[in-house]
Symmetry: C2
């Protein structure tokens, strides 16, 4: 069964983690876990200072996920939680497009505020990559799809 709108809104405002699929240059899919906040009808993903894969000192190459969406904006974002009780399983998927947003992009500052509010971890982690221009990724959902294994899940999430 599908999740009701109230449960979807609750998850988009509060769930701490999602998985993001983008497309490589050759069209193959690639996945990373992401944090996100909802602001102004879009979901915003930081390109933050959590340690990334190593790069040579002095270089701060653009993250692959950012290069990917510049080339092809199509993304899929999945929220779910695994439970050993399979009657408790659910997922929520947003398919849409993503754009890199610099600090002068509309909605940037509200989105940054939403991320800092949602994640107190940003007290200790820079919200942007040191040495790189401040960037967020804005995901515009085109289609929302959801599934729950049982009515109990729907009650629990609503």
């Amino acid at each position: 069964m599908e999740l009701p709108r109230a449960a979807i809104d609750h998850l988009l405002d509060n769930w701490p983690v999602a998985r993001l699929a983008t497309l490589r240059a050759d069209g193959s899919p690639v996945l990373v876990p992401v944090v996100f906040a909802r602001s102004g009808g879009r979901l915003w993903l930081p390109v933050d200072g959590k340690p990334k894969r190593e790069h040579a000192e002095g270089e701060v190459p653009e993250l692959a996920r950012v290069a990917n969406i510049r080339r092809d904006a199509r993304v899929s974002l999945l929220l779910d939680q695994y439970e050993s009780d399979w009657a408790g399983l659910w997922w929520l998927r947003l398919d849409g497009t993503a754009q890199p947003a610099g600090e002068h992009a509309p909605g940037f500052h509200a989105a940054l505020g939403a991320l800092l509010d949602k994640y107190p971890q940003y007290a200790d982690t820079p919200p942007f990559r040191p040495g790189a221009p401040p960037t967020l990724i804005a995901v515009s959902p085109r289609r929302t799809t959801s599934w729950a294994a049982s009515a109990d899940v729907v009650d629990f999430l609503s």
Copy 2:
């Protein structure tokens, strides 16, 4: 930093959930959570009897993820766990190709045994979709990529 081989093997044998990205007919990426078991150097995903999105009575349409890999075998599979302590974050990604495997495919029975051993939930859930031919999805990894936020994670997982 990367995860050591022992941690990767431990996760591939024991971690209960992954997220699978496949490609739709139009080339856009699409995500679902999956359970999996490792057998014979491949990861095997069930097409099981957990409730799926509704379909008209009598019809058992092929799952989108199966139709997708028949058309384009390229997939990405991600294992990770969210922690509010970001020093505890890690992920493990397998990029490769996937094939649907029927019950006469090489490796099918060993893989089914591995799934039934790993998931006692199959005592209550059919391992195949009722009314559809028994099918597993076999993922052959081509590239393994991993990341851990700190050496503590690496120690914990190893």
